[in-house]
């Protein structure tokens, strides 16, 4: 479902800090209506990339386009159509929840009061409470309300659920699916950077794994889950040597052999079967396991 006009298009992005490369030749594109996962370890370059999308940082080289526009020089056009929730949210300490939302709404062309009321109730947020008196979870919820009520075409989330309790994390994701995604007739786009991959597993259509500023893997989530397999075999003696191209992360422990396969799992399975194992099994991998297998 590739469209002519991607919502995000990053092309050979490089961003240096002094002599070190935070992002080094990264390219990716996100089409409208998709939920795109941006996975990487701490310090892989996720936040630097997102800051380039938001014109908070300038690329050292390469280009970044959002809605077909360069964020630099088109800041108002770009930012009026997107909302951003960072991992550390901060509000003006003298404002209440109500005042904070009114302040955020004053920058927006659209503001959905019905959604605002619904979400305030759902999160049990007291509108009269000062923003400084909120817990970390409540601050994130407030930031999410501020993002969703503006009904943006693009929602950028940078490690949104790290440091939150499981209930708040669950509600956060349900809000992204329900209040945000459902209203846009399949055209609402999400770009989420996270290392808590399991929680977002059901939401992700496509993803890029970034490692040391470089793309390590880009795949559709369904394709990734059908390509990667873990094969386990036990032999009567020491397992024979494995030298297939498709096999990676080969682990041996006594008589046990465990192989992660990217691609032709049937072929690898048949080859191992021909080696006469005592037992043989194969299972799929979750996106988190694929992430770990890719970076190992």
């Amino acid at each position: 479902m590739k469209t002519e006009n991607p919502v995000i298009e990053i092309s050979h992005l490089v961003r240096k800090f002094g002599r070190s490369d935070a992002v080094n030749d990264l390219s990716l594109r996100v089409d409208a209506g998709r939920c795109y996962g941006f996975f990487g370890r701490n310090g892989a370059g996720k936040t630097t990339t997102i800051k380039c999308l938001l014109n908070l940082l300038q690329p050292t080289s390469g280009t970044v386009r959002v809605f077909g526009l360069e964020p630099r020089g088109n800041e108002v056009e770009v930012k009026s159509r997107l909302a951003y929730v960072p991992d550390q949210v901060a509000f003006y300490p003298w404002m209440t929840v109500r005042e904070t939302l009114d302040y955020l709404a004053s920058f927006r062309q659209r503001w959905n009061r019905t959604t605002e009321k619904e979400l305030l109730g759902q999160f049990r947020l007291d509108a009269g409470k000062k923003a400084t008196a909120l817990s970390k979870g409540q601050k994130t919820q407030l930031a999410l309300i501020g993002a969703v009520c503006a009904e943006p075409d693009l929602l950028i989330l940078d490690e949104p659920t790290s440091g939150l309790d499981p209930i708040v994390r669950r509600e956060f994701i349900q809000t992204v699916i329900g209040a945000y995604q459902d209203a846009g007739a399949g055209q609402r786009t999400v770009f989420v950077s996270t290392h808590l991959i399991t929680e977002f597993e059901g939401l992700i259509d496509e993803f890029t794994i970034i490692d040391n500023g470089k793309e390590a893997l880009t795949l559709e989530a369904d394709d990734a889950r059908s390509r990667f397999r873990k094969i386990r075999a036990r032999f009567a003696g020491t397992p024979p040597a494995i030298d297939f191209v498709a096999a990676r992360n080969i682990k041996r422990d006594g008589r046990e052999l465990e192989i992660t396969v990217n691609g032709d799992a049937e072929m690898v399975l048949n080859r191992i079967k021909s080696m006469g194992p005592e037992s043989l099994s194969m299972e799929g991998l979750t996106l988190e396991e694929i992430f770990v297998a890719t970076l190992q």
Binding site: I177, D182, E199, G202, R225
Partner: protein, 148 residues
């Protein structure tokens, strides 16, 4: 059928290697075949089901579209989706061809798992019995509930 009942029927497994929308389709079909979902029964709308399963809204929409194209459910304008009265839109020959493909896949799998023909056929009979039993017990439950 409420959202919480449906989310109990549907268990997603991201280690199965099967696309999430197909898991939703197959589990609805299984629920309809075993009588856990009865003809005429309403399905939850897309948003609450997607929220509860924590599944992309578009994935649930795709699953419903697939169920509708297979004639398992139908959409009534303004009222939502309902389980159909077991009327497949396909001709008998087409239905049998579709089933043959699935049976072939099971036969291939049986070969790889070294399950012989006799055991395979026994297993088929046993599984048919399992669904028949489940269907009967679901029917009994429904009848008890329907009594005043």
């Amino acid at each position: 059928m409420t959202v919480s009942t449906v989310t109990m029927l549907i268990q997603l497994n991201f280690k199965s290697g099967k696309p999430a929308y197909l898991q939703v389709v197959d589990q609805f079909k299984s629920a309809a075949a075993s009588g856990a979902l009865r003809p005429g029964e309403p399905l939850p709308s897309i948003r609450p089901l997607a929220e509860q399963l924590r599944l992309n809204r578009n994935t649930v929409a795709k699953a419903y579209a697939e169920l509708e194209s297979q004639g398992i459910i139908e959409t009534v304008a303004g009222k939502g989706c309902f389980v159909t009265e077991n009327n497949s839109p396909f001709k008998k020959a087409v239905r049998q061809k579709m089933l043959s493909d699935d049976i072939d896949a099971a036969i291939v799998q049986a070969h790889h798992l070294q399950v012989n023909e006799k055991d395979f056929l026994e297993l088929v009979t046993q599984r048919l019995g399992f669904f028949r039993q489940k269907s009967e017990s679901n029917a009994n439950n429904h009848n008890q509930k329907d009594k005043p």
